[in-house]
């Protein structure tokens, strides 16, 4: 079976800084894959590279198709859809219109007809469903700026879903959410993936990522330092060292022995 996303040897440099150094990452069909790593490890840069917003070397295949040379909007047409850490809603459009922009690709004829006859573009069915999924129906006519941070995050994800993704890239969807919202979001994501939408989830909420992902990649200083199931990653001393500080690495075994036990109880 073709992988939903296959990124090979992705490297990105900003001037002298090598932000990503040959990252290989695969999201299998129907899988929820986590990407974690300390602040500044290059996670967002990876998403930018995959979606075509920064120049990178290496290859990106979406459902087996090489998309490495395509501009971002073409990648989106093919179903590679992302959210943003900073949400990036269209603040001048209502929630509904935000979803409509993502959902519709108007033909020339229909555009001319809309403008000449003053037709209202009909709400796409997917947009309606997505709003329902996140309980956003009642805020559909609102401007995004009137919503809470948590709601805005959800609108960002809803907009991505309205674009009809074949692979969803979520960049820190839980940052800024409270504990309950974050747990809610996790359950919804899991359900989406179980219904067949492969997803790459980046987040700092370790509980969320370890709790719901099928496999996890760990990035540090632009390189993949670990890859495996949540249990494997959890018990990997390198990961803990990367997360809690490199200086702990030498004594990782000694200083943080309790980790494995601490998590085992769950």
């Amino acid at each position: 079976m073709t992988a939903a996303l296959e990124a090979a040897g992705i490297s990105v440099s900003f001037g002298a800084v090598r932000a990503l150094q040959g990252v290989d990452l695969v999201v299998g069909a129907g899988k929820l894959v986590g990407l974690i790593g300390p602040n500044g490890a290059g996670k967002t840069t990876f998403v930018d590279a995959i979606t075509g917003f920064v120049q990178s070397s290496g290859s990106v295949h979406l459902q087996g198709q090489d998309i490495s040379k395509l501009p971002p909007h073409r990648r989106a047409h093919l179903g590679l859809v992302r959210t943003w850490q900073t949400i990036e809603l269209f603040d001048d459009l209502t929630v509904q219109e935000n979803l409509a922009v993502a959902g519709g690709r108007p033909s020339l004829v229909s555009t001319v007809a809309d403008v000449v006859f003053g037709r209202e573009p009909r709400a796409e069915q997917t947009a309606e469903e997505v709003l329902g999924l996140f309980d956003l129906q009642e805020v559909a006519p609102e401007m995004p700026s009137n919503l809470s941070q948590g709601r805005r995050k959800l609108v960002g994800i809803a907009r991505a879903l309205a674009a009809g993704p074949s692979l969803l890239l979520l960049d820190e969807p839980a940052a800024g959410l409270d504990t309950q919202e974050s747990g809610d979001l996790g359950r919804k994501l899991r359900r989406l993936v179980d219904n067949g939408l492969p997803t790459l989830l980046i987040d700092h909420d370790m509980g969320l990522v370890l709790g719901i992902c099928d496999e996890i990649y760990v990035l540090d200083f632009g390189k993949v330092i670990a890859h495996g199931t949540p249990d494997e990653v959890r018990s990997n001393p390198d990961v803990l060292a990367a997360y809690l500080g490199k200086s702990g690495q030498a004594q990782a075994g000694a200083t943080w022995p309790a980790v494995a036990e601490g998590t085992r109880e769950r």
Partner: protein
Amino acid sequence: MLSLEKVSAGYGQSDVIRDIDLEVRPGEIVTLLGPNGAGKTTTLRVISGHVKQSRGTVRLKGHDLAHLSPTQRARAGIAHVPEGRGIFFGLTVAEHLRLGYRGETIDPKVVYTYFPALRELRDRPAGLLSGGEQQMLAVARNLARSPELLLLDELSLGLAPLLVEGLLPVVRDYSRERNCGVLLVEQHVPLALEVADHCYVLSHGDVVLHEPAERLRDDPELLVESYLGGSAAKETLAT
């Protein structure tokens, strides 16, 4: 010296931090830990006045800071090294040490005593310094202001931890010698715990742990529990 009482703040309508109580005493290093998005940076911004709190009080030496602008707070003795360093790439090292508001005296000697390496780089624009040197300059420039309170945000961001390992003991010495309070946000936990006196852990905007740093050094399990596995994890797994 610095005290936060039941401070909530955020962007737009929702709060990123909720009912935070926190205290920093003179000559003491307090570290603020927690995963990304927990509200650490927001807390620092509230203190330096770049984010307004929606509730609660921030006091410096007993004075309520509510009506002071960021500029006024800086002049009242709060030095804030933000994420991204807060220095000016177009200015040389020496020019950073001349930079100051009217009437402010900056002592370049402080800088060169604590960070002798900067003396040789004095005529180099900050944009051409290495990341570690930039961070050194950022800290040095703020020490030169003789602050009452120093806020440090993720010094190690994008740097090799080794570099920060060199920086923090200098901050430690300065803080003790000059009786300056330090609030340190840091993702390299052992590094932070090594120099800190007290430790707060934030998770999803709440203080979930407040202990003397010594205790956490001795018993890391306490920290790992609140840091790595949140209640969110349990909840998610439970359902």
